[in-house]
């Protein structure tokens, strides 16, 4: 079978699943709800009476069912439900298999590019491009499989399938089971459209579609107001980014007269356009607008605010959408436009700076979060920042390389956290966890692998990609030591907060409420098997991109070779590694490993060896959040110096000395990080979130005067009419 020409089937399968679920799902719903849905055509007056009774009854069971969403309710295993459980993951599995087939066949092709155009979608009249030439632009329903999209579809369908399987277990007791899978399948469809599109307009279809599904899934637990709010926030913030994307897209058309990636790249590489090194030209503007879109979708500063809130959705959703796939759409899109960004150093450096800034900002915020999913959410933002850093310095394949294992280990982390939450009966606060290691061993071990991977321990996936990013940030012509340093600090923080999470959750003393304690149980096999598979991926995924330095056979650098044709332009002027000595690379690598280990060690020291330190700090700091920053600062120094160091030490001066030198250093370091992250938090809550709120608030506020113009008096309307006429006439006079 020729998979390559049947690419269109890959997104079609999940679409089919989604349509089936959303149209007929209600009938499959094992809940007694189905008896309420009398055949919709029945005349209304006829059934009004008895449905009222049913409606009430059902409303009640519904709420009841939801309260016990995780608590083991009923309705397990009805044949229809099993059908849903088989159908939806099955569709994604089919997509995965087709993707595998297509990618394998793609590998046989000499050009490694395969484009299939189904039919024309947007056709236009001939129009004048910016340079005056006439072009007839068109966008097709067409698919492009090249190394870049190949990686993406494998990630989307592969990880997507595992998460679907996981969801079968995770959502087993939830109402709206069918709805959940319908949305999830729909999401996979749009995500596949996004990555398989052969032009920007079609990419935008997927781009908006995934946003919509994200919205629906974040708000899935609609009884929670916060969930509904979070969904709206996500959508609105994304739309702001999208505005940039649309404009960029249109400007690109007007400039090049084409929308296909292949043609765009060809045009950009034809030598007709020169790199805009001197100033900020139209290419830079387009790139910047694209990047604006990417910041929205991929949660970069300043549009990242929606992602942490998005954690209100069910955990598999967080794993699939808000960690592994959708949020990488921005990375993918920028990588897709590599030829464009290559020509626009100014924008590229903005990308790199924003990426680096986001990475460190989010990491510092993650340091103090107590909600297990929020830590991971900020971690995601931070890792995405890494990817943009790589994109910004021109290391496109490295960004995709990081995206790939990140999809594994971040999905795994989320799923593990979901498993923890599942075990804890819905508890998400890490302060009420602890010592879960032996109770949920599979979850623990898989999460352990993932944490090591994200922390950057050599041998595991995260190490290779992260190290490559740091190296590129340092060595690339557009990189710098500063970027590297930021990346390095972020790496340390990452190790710290991940092991803080591990320690608070799995090790140490148990803080679990007794009534919850009794029910802790390992998740069913549908959940643990995906975890294990992802753990293997997280462990081994990095070996596709071993640093050249290690001198291993070229097959260990498969990833770079695979992607090379996609970034031909970038590669052409790449190979800059030679400029720097191998020794520097070794040193940097060692430093990054060292800082990862230090981060882990500090976290372990804080949260395992001496758990009282953070608690103390916590206690001290908590009441001070609200106080003025300066005052707090003074108080803290006072406390630290006198209460800890002197007053407590008192007569035991020697012991005090020991304390202040050894512990003090540790405390100081901890205190400093906390200080920084508090500022970050403050910044996040008040400035960034505030700006978003201010934006929506202003819009709402402006809405009032506009409404109040509408007084209801018809003559006031007529007066406005006359004022309009007056203004028009006035325009003539003042012209």
């Amino acid at each position: 079978m020729n998979f390559l020409d049947q690419i269109w089937l890959i997104p079609l399968f999940p679409l089919l699943g989604a349509v089936l679920m959303l149209l007929f799902g209600k009938k499959l719903d094992p809940q007694p709800a189905s008896d309420v849905a009398v055949a919709p055509g029945v005349e209304h007056t006829h059934d009004e009476h008895d449905t009222h009774g049913h409606g009430h009854g059902h409303g009640h069971t519904h709420d009841h069912g939801h309260d016990h969403a995780h608590g083991g309710g009923h309705g397990h295993g009805s044949p229809l439900k099993i059908l849903v459980s088989l159908l939806c993951p099955g569709m994604v599995l089919l997509s995965f298999l087709f993707s595998l087939g297509a990618v394998m066949q793609l590998a046989q092709l000499p050009t490694k590019v395969h484009q299939v155009v189904q039919f024309t979608w947007l056709a236009g009249m001939p129009f004048h491009m910016l340079d005056g030439r006439i072009a007839t632009f068109s966008a097709d329903w067409g698919f492009l499989l090249d190394p870049l999209s190949a990686v993406m579809i494998l990630v989307v369908t592969g990880v997507g399938f595992l998460i679907h399987v996981y969801s079968v277990g995770y959502m087993a007791h939830d109402n709206g089971y069918y709805r959940f899978f319908g949305y999830l399948n729909l999401f996979v469809f749009f995500m596949l459209m996004l990555v398989l599109a052969n032009n920007y307009a079609l990419l935008f279809v997927g781009w908006e579609g995934v946003g919509l599904c994200s919205y629906l899934l974040i708000g899935f637990y609609y009884q929670k107001k916060s969930a509904a709010d979070a969904g709206k926030k996500a959508f609105v913030v994304n739309r702001v980014g999208d505005a940039g994307f649309i404009l960029g897209m249109l400007l690109l058309y007007a400039l090049l007269g084409t929308s296909r990636f292949v043609d765009v790249n060809h045009a950009l590489q034809s030598g007709q356009f020169h790199a805009e090194t001197a100033g900020f030209g139209v290419l830079s503007a387009i790139a910047l607008l694209f990047f604006t879109g990417a910041t929205g979708k991929s949660a970069q500063f300043p549009l990242y605010v929606w992602l942490p809130d998005a954690m209100e959705g069910p955990t598999p959703v967080s794993a699939l959408i808000h960690a592994a796939t959708m949020v990488t759409a921005g990375v993918y899109m920028v990588a897709r436009s590599a030829a464009l960004f290559q020509l626009t150093p100014a924008t590229s450096s903005i990308v790199a700076s924003v990426g680096a800034f986001t990475a460190i900002l989010a990491a510092s915020i993650a340091l103090v979060q107590n909600d297990i999913k929020r830590v991971l959410a900020y971690s995601t933002v931070s890792q995405l920042g890494y990817m943009f850093l790589a994109l910004g310095v021109g290391a496109y394949w490295v960004a995709i390389f990081h995206l790939f294992p990140h999809a594994f280990f971040k999905a795994l982390l989320f799923l593990c956290s979901g498993s923890v939450i599942h075990a804890m009966g819905g508890e998400q606060d890490m302060r009420r966890m602890g010592a879960l290691k032996d109770k949920i061993p599979v979850t623990h071990w898989t999460m352990w692998v993932a944490s090591l991977a994200i922390a950057g321990i050599p041998g595991l996936a995260g190490f290779f990609s992260k190290d490559e990013i740091l190296w590129q940030a340092y060595s690339s012509p557009s990189g710098s030591q500063v970027l590297w340093l930021i990346g390095l600090v972020t790496a340390g923080m990452t190790a710290f907060y991940m092991w803080r999470l591990m320690n608070m959750t799995f090790y140490g003393k148990s803080h679990v409420a007794p009534e919850v304690e009794a029910h802790i149980h390992e998740s069913p096999a549908t959940m643990t098997v995906p975890l294990t598979v992802l753990a293997i991926g997280s462990a081994l995924g990095g070996w596709l991109g071993v640093p050249k330095l290690w001198g291993l056979p070229e097959s260990f650098r498969a990833f770079e070779h695979w992607l090379a044709p996609a970034f031909a332009a970038a590669a052409a002027e790449g190979e800059h590694g030679g400029a720097h000595g191998a020794s520097i690379e070794w040193i940097l690598m060692s430093v990054s490993v060292a800082i990862a280990i230090i981060g882990i060690a500090v976290a372990r020291y804080f949260y395992h060896t001496k758990p009282e330190i953070p608690e103390k700090l916590e206690l001290r700091l908590k009441p001070l959040y609200g106080l003025l920053l300066n005052k707090w600062y003074v108080d803290e120094i006072y406390d630290f110096l006198f209460v800890n160091g002197l007053a407590k030490g008192g007569g035991r001066a020697m012991a005090a000395f020991d304390l202040s030198v050894i512990d003090g250093a540790v405390n100081g370091a901890g205190w400093f990080t906390r200080f920084c992250s508090t500022i970050s938090m403050w910044w996040d809550t008040w400035i960034i979130d505030g700006a978003v709120r201010l934006g929506s608030f202003t819009v709402k506020l402006l809405s009032y005067p506009v409404c109040f113009l509408q007084t209801g008096r018809v003559q006031a309307y007529a007066l406005f009419f006359v004022v309009g006429v007056l203004a028009f006439f006035g325009y003539y006079v003042i012209r």
């Binding site: 849905a37 009398v38 919709p40 055509g41 209304h44 007056t45 009004e48 449905t51 049913h54 409303g59 039919f119 979608w121 947007l122 056709a123 236009g124 009249m125 001939p126 129009f127 004048h128 491009m129 910016l130 307009a201 935008f204 579609g209 919205y215 708000g219 609609y222 009884q223 509904a228 969904g231 709206k232 959508f235 609105v236 739309r239 702001v240 505005a243 649309i246 404009l247 249109l250 400007l251 007007a254 819009v699 709402k700 402006l702 809405s703 009032y704 506009v706 409404c707 113009l709 509408q710 209801g712 006031a716 309307y717 007529a718 009419f721 309009g724 006429v725 028009f728 325009y731 003539y732």
Partner: protein, 487 residues
């Protein structure tokens, strides 16, 4: 002066004749049928539309067979061209869909009278002349024919205060604005000595673009036109009329009347006023920005779905104007496409509101649509499609409309307008998603499935399929929109 009603005149006029004929037939049959059989009048309307459709097809075929771009009749009073046929299809679809959903709604409201269908058809007849008229008098009379039907239909719930009020306001303002419009026409006549659009165009073309009298005619005409498409600051009738009118009429008013007025506006601006472009381009830009601003901002705080959609349709008028401002082929085609897709998506959204109406529940508030996904997943999914389309999210049809408009702005380097327009799309999502949120992310007050009738389901299905279909495979519709405008 020899033969004043030729075969060719007849051929061009058939669609209007059919509409008028069946309109009168409905009025007559209404006297013959029992009150509870009135819903069969819909069949009569359908028959009328079929005949009209056949006539349109014949005209279309005649034009293409003879390689004509247009066919004038009545000594140039009426012109059938691609433009007119395109818009007439829109009117036809809108009228048919509205007729199909009306009987149930009016039954529930207790005001099911045959006159309603007659007025629907006669209104459509007026729209025919708006789209096909090329003479000031024809256009004016067509406009008034349409408007009068709407005044009555808006007030059709005669025992409801809000309906009375809406009709009264609409009539007072409508009559006032048409006074200005026809004042402008009179000045145009004074300038050219003729009522034919082509003569007016050449007369205006022979003058300076900033000629004071031309400007006077332009402004007074423009305000009348802008009133009809509910552009700011002449929009204020729209929210009130939309809210007070029976929902089916609101649907009709918001799409068919707007489409017809848009056709009218295009005829005037691309015809007689085209030479004076420099003097109206800025005016329309300001109006478009104001329209998008007011429409989008005011919609945010609405809790009544009809009112919210009313403000949203005001903002859509702003987008449509942008295509005219851009003024290149893409822009004009963009307007045509926009009107087409707007028809189906807006109609669809209102139809779902129609479905919410029950005996004792008016069903217009956001609370009434809450939890629709649990009550009627099909309706909720369709509504989602309509709202996504209204918000301009691909691959729905709404994206297509916005897309061409924005593209034309970028092509003609109206960057500021493009940026503003795109940003307002972001604002729009905010209020459309209030409805989505109510439907999907809230619990229903009760779980009674929506009332529905065969007509309603067919109408919703058609709107839904077209809203998605045009977005996914727009080619045939784009071909239709290759309107032959007088350029």
């Amino acid at each position: 002066m020899s033969s004043f009603y030729t075969a060719s005149d007849h051929f061009v006029l058939i669609p209007a004749i059919m509409l008028a004929l069946f309109g009168c037939a409905v009025l007559l049959f209404d006297l013959l049928v029992e009150p509870r059989q009135r819903k069969y009048l819909v069949l009569l309307v359908t028959a009328g539309e079929i005949f009209t459709g056949v006539a349109l097809v014949r005209q279309q075929m005649y034009l293409s067979a003879n390689g004509l771009s247009q066919l004038a009749a009545f000594q140039g009073s009426l012109t059938v061209d691609g433009f007119a046929i395109f818009f007439n299809w829109i009117f036809l679809a809108a009228t048919l869909i509205v007729a199909m959903v009306s009987y149930k709604y009016l039954d529930i409201a207790g005001e099911h009278h045959g006159e309603y269908y007659g007025l629907l058809l006669l209104a459509q007849c007026g729209m025919f002349f708006l789209a096909a008229g090329t003479d000031l008098i024809t256009l004016f009379i067509g406009l008034e024919l349409m408007a009068l039907c709407f005044y009555v239909m808006v007030g059709f719930l005669r025992t409801e205060k809000r309906s009375n009020e809406a009709a009264m306001k609409y009539l007072l303002l409508g009559a006032f604005s048409s006074g200005f419009l026809v004042y402008g026409f009179s000045v145009m006549y004074g300038i050219s000595g003729s009522t034919k659009l082509a003569d007016v165009a050449s007369a205006i073309g022979s003058r300076q673009p900033w000629d004071p009298v031309v400007f006077l005619a332009m402004v007074t005409t423009t305000v009348g036109l802008l009133f009809k498409i509910s552009a700011v600051p002449f929009h204020m009738w729209a929210p009130d009329a939309y809210e007070g009118a029976p929902t089916t009429v609101t649907a009709y008013l918001s799409v068919a009347s707007k489409a017809a007025s848009m056709a009218f506006l295009l005829r005037i601006f691309l015809g007689p006023l085209a030479p004076a472009r420099v003097s109206w381009e800025w005016l329309l830009s300001a109006v478009a920005i104001a329209t998008m601003t007011v429409g989008n901002l005011a919609a945010i705080n609405q809790n009544n779905i009809k009112r919210l959609l009313a403000y949203s349709s005001i903002s859509h008028a702003g987008y449509m104007l942008l295509g005219l401002i851009a003024g290149n082929d893409t822009g004009i085609k963009g307007v045509a496409v926009y009107v087409l897709v707007y028809t189906f998506m807006n109609l669809g959204a209102f139809l779902v509101v129609v479905a919410l109406r029950r005996k004792d529940i008016i069903g217009e508030e956001l609370d009434d649509i809450a939890g629709l996904i649990h009550r009627s997943p099909g309706y909720a999914s369709l509504m989602l499609i309509f709202l996504l389309s209204l918000a301009g999210i691909p691959p729905t049809a709404g994206f297509l409309g916005k897309y061409y408009i924005f593209l034309s702005l970028v092509e003609t380097q109206h960057y500021t307008l493009a940026v503003i327009a795109v940003l307002y799309v972001a604002v729009a999502i905010y209020y459309y998603f209030r409805i989505v949120r109510a439907m999907f992310i809230r619990d229903a007050a009760d779980r009674v499935p929506l009332a529905s009738s065969l007509g309603l389901r067919v109408a919703l299905g058609v709107s839904g399929v077209l809203t998605l279909g045009i977005g996914i495979y727009p080619e045939p519709f784009l071909q239709m929109a290759q309107v032959s405008l007088m350029r």
